[in-house]
Amino acid sequence: MKASLSFFVLLLTCSLSEPLFAQQLHPVIDAQIEAATNKPIAPPSTDSEFVRRIYLDLVGQIPTSQEAEQFINDSSRAKRQTLIDKLLQDDRYSRRMSEAFNVMLMERRGEDPDWQAFLSHSFQGNIAWDQMVSSMVFPDEQNEQTRGSAYFLTKRLEKYGQNPTDFPGLARDIGRMFLGMDLACAQCHDHLFIDDYKQADFQGLFAFINNSFIRRDTDYPAIGMKPVKTKLAFNSVFEEGEFSTGPKLPGLDEIPIPEFVTGEEFATPPNKETKAPGVPKFNPLKFLAEQLPTQANDSFNLNAANRIWFLMMGRGIVHPLDLHHSDNPASHPELLQLMAEAFAAHDYDIKWLVREIALSATYQRTSMVTTGLDDAKPREYRLFHEKPMSAEQLMWSMITATGHLQHIPDTTNTSTSQTDEEQDQLPLGLEHIRADFLAAFANPPREPETEFAPSVRGALFVLNGPRVLDWLESRPDNLTAKLETLETGFATPLYLAVLSRKPTQEEADKFNQYIESQSDKSTAIKQAIWALLASNEFAINH
């Protein structure tokens, strides 16, 4: 074990750019994880566990019963890798990644079509993470495909409630999302409990954005910048003295603020006719885009690798994700460093890193506790630990399990033509379904969705809400209708459709006997489907 580890480390440090290594990060992952423990490690997942997990993680939904069964019955040796590669090419991959990154980056602040377009475009084209970040912090409004990226900035500058424009919140989130550093407590003084976080770090980030504003002359998200003439002055509530800083990233040099003669600050002066604001010659965001997403910026690389690892593994190697500092050490610092360097060396190719993690034995381990694993801690990765499902994953999975996808009407162009009668009924379009699921399962705005946080609201939605119960009604080719054609043997198709696995004998007996014993078979079938949809096994990604 140790030998192979050293080998890979050597390989990595010597030849990062070698194409051979390009295919081979996953053995490094496994060697590092296994070398860090002398305790038992869980065996590989079953095919059923794997097929459900990989569909949820790469395409954002459980497999259909056909997809699950086909995979389980496939006897080829390389079938896991084949499936991973197939799903990475699936159209639903970009949908899944757009949803996951939207949740991560915007934390349920709201929705915007141009922002969605930016995310879709990025993941369809597998745009590199450094380019995506560059677009987010310094949007190019000439590029119609990517300019929605400005929403990352503009949404955070919108006022909410009675609060003033939250410039500090935006500075904080740039630190959290792109550097893995939550500097909120360092706004007014050096952080009291985290020695690494200095007030100057926060203020340096703040100086990039404190002159920005939301442009009101566009119908897409766009950010403007007032001319920056002086350094940002600040005081500490603990230390005597006056301090000042220009725009500055933690660990990098301060950016000098050029002096312009009054009247000469603008490259393009404000246009009173179009109401377009002036474009200043000096824009700190341009420097942010140049300095933040770079190979030389360790914090940027570590944060990116850690967040993608989190997406796949459910826990950051540094956790919480936004508290990278020396008192909150990584569970596997060397692995994180190697992944970060390799990710940077691979031009921030998200799909490549996702694929490497998916190929690792670490990702593919079972989540079932067996002998010697009772004390397995999430930070050890000796077991695959259960992960929460997002509102979107739950929605797509329930649609898939019940076979309802085919019955969702396309309402994109017909929303205004509803008859009075239809208006009294449950609105059936995908946008309404999505709104219902977000209301039931998403966190409130500005709350990261990184921990498992089930709610009474969500439970009541499943128990009594009309949405899911409606999907249990028999409709052509849906799950209920399929089970209604059977006389016996309900459990196997039921379990394959909802839980992506075949039932045990005990489970088959329980469900078959229940349905067969009921005089109203149709109702019994709906009850059985509901029971599995509402089960913990369904609600958890395991």
Partner: protein, 434 residues
């Protein structure tokens, strides 16, 4: 209390190997998912056996939004320049008078405690309401919880199976997370709007109770199968929210049409309706119930407005105190009635009274409170406090102590940051405590 404020050890009950929570969860980071509703209040530091005994205590918090006039209620100044047109009337406590607009309350005065020497700092609704509700703590860069979320966290949900914090109010209902601040959404309120049950609480008409029992029995079977081979953490959390949801469904009678006799006693008004639901919630074992009355911001026509508003409060408040007293529940239920501030003694050009945090009154009764303690005083015009002024921080200390929580030695720990549960420059008001 024997605990040390600096002791940051985790709670001894949360130490078993199968309950390995992440640090952020244990310490109550903003996304606390698990300890929240189900545990013993993972933030309390430390929480020892002595305080565990307080877990059956409950709170009925009556929030009079907009600002009740102290001069038309608890601290009348008849026949003075700012006194207004109403007389004062004697109460069951010799020498103590209240406004004639609260005749019923005057007859239970010996059961209440009132502080007429309240002096707070914010005279705007937008900042004042949250500041008062949070106990006006020092700004430490975090958003403090409202009192209800604080109690929900510090004392847990109890044994009712119901959510620990229920907010009965006019307007919209649903799950309102905003009160929870840094404690995280789990400590937000389940709001009952317009007396309507929360969304999806009623079993659909298409399902019989047998159907419901059947499907849940199958669900529980499936959960048992799953949990046999998995760590317990996620399953327990998931089971807890389903159990709570089902407990709410079982309590649907809380939302049935009320007994006409109760309606007659509480008043056929929104406040009467909500106070009655509030009492039922307390009887059902909810830890903290906030009953909300709106519309008290009487900048114009203050006297007609109070002539209309006060009798509704008088009736509902008296009815609920009497009901709790009759049932022996004041032994363990703390009742508080308050606004975000009082109203100006000076009468403005619109015959109204404006915002006046400088001198106003708060009333309370129930567990831990000395009945009949009418403390604090204002000058003859009612403009300033002449006794030792009491800020909202003093009241938070007082109420926490009434609930058996040592407010001067208990802290929240938020992401490693220790935070006092009440303003450390204030202390309990001993004259109000029994």
């Amino acid at each position: 209390m024997t605990q040390s404020p600096n002791n940051s050890e985790r709670h001894p009950l949360c130490n078993t190997a199968e309950h390995v929570f992440t640090r952020r969860q244990l310490l109550g980071g903003s996304t606390t998912g698990l300890i929240g509703l189900g545990g013993l209040g993972g933030l309390v530091n430390p929480l020892f056996a002595k305080e565990m005994k307080s877990k059956e205590k409950q709170v009925l918090f009556i929030w009079i939004d907009g600002g009740m006039s102290q001069l038309e209620s608890w601290d009348p100044k008849p026949n003075t320049q700012f006194g207004g047109p109403f007389r004062s009337i004697p109460t069951t406590i010799p020498g103590i008078h209240v406004s004639e607009l609260m005749p019923k309350t005057s007859q239970i005065m010996h059961k209440l405690a009132v502080d007429r020497g309240v002096s707070t700092f914010d005279n705007s609704h937008s900042a004042g309401v949250p500041r008062i509700n949070r106990g006006d703590p020092k700004d430490r860069g975090v958003i403090y919880p409202y009192f209800g979320s604080a109690v929900a966290n510090l004392m847990g949900p109890g044994n009712s199976g119901l959510p620990p914090y229920v907010w009965v109010k006019p307007g919209s209902g649903g799950f309102k997370y905003q009160d929870a601040g840094f404690l995280g959404p789990k400590f937000g309120a389940l709001a009952i709007g317009e007396g309507e049950p929360p969304p999806n609480i009623l079993l659909p008409e298409t399902l019989s109770s047998t159907n419901n029992a059947d499907r849940n029995s199958l669900r529980e079977f499936a959960n048992q199968q799953y949990s046999q081979k998995r760590p317990p953490k996620f399953s327990e959390a998931q089971n807890f929210v389903y159990d709570t949801a089902q407990a709410l469904m079982q309590k649907r009678s809380l939302f049935d049409n009320p007994d006409p006799k109760d309606v007659a006693r509480y008043g056929d008004t929104p406040l009467g309706r909500d106070m009655l639901i509030g009492r039922k919630m307390i009887e059902a074992g909810v830890r903290f119930v906030k009953v909300n009355s709106y519309g008290w911001d009487t900048h114009g026509d203050n006297f007609n407005a109070h002539a209309s508003l006060m009798p509704r409060f008088d009736q509902a408040f008296t009815a609920v105190v009497e009901d709790l007293d009759e049932r022996g529940m004041l032994d363990h239920v703390l009742v508080i009635a308050m606004s975000e501030f009082g109203r100006t003694p000076r009468i403005n050009g619109h015959i109204g009274r404006d915002h006046w945090p400088e001198a106003w009154s708060i009333a309370m009764t129930g567990t831990g409170i000395k009945q009949g303690a009418i403390i604090g005083s204002t000058n003859d015009d009612g403009t300033w406090v002449t006794s030792e002024p009491h800020d909202i921080g003093h009241f938070f200390h007082t109420w926490f102590n009434a609930l058996g929580i040592d407010s001067e030695h208990t802290e929240y720990i938020n992401d490693g940051q220790p935070l006092p549960i009440a303003d450390e420059e204030c202390s309990p008001i001993r004259e109000l405590l029994s």
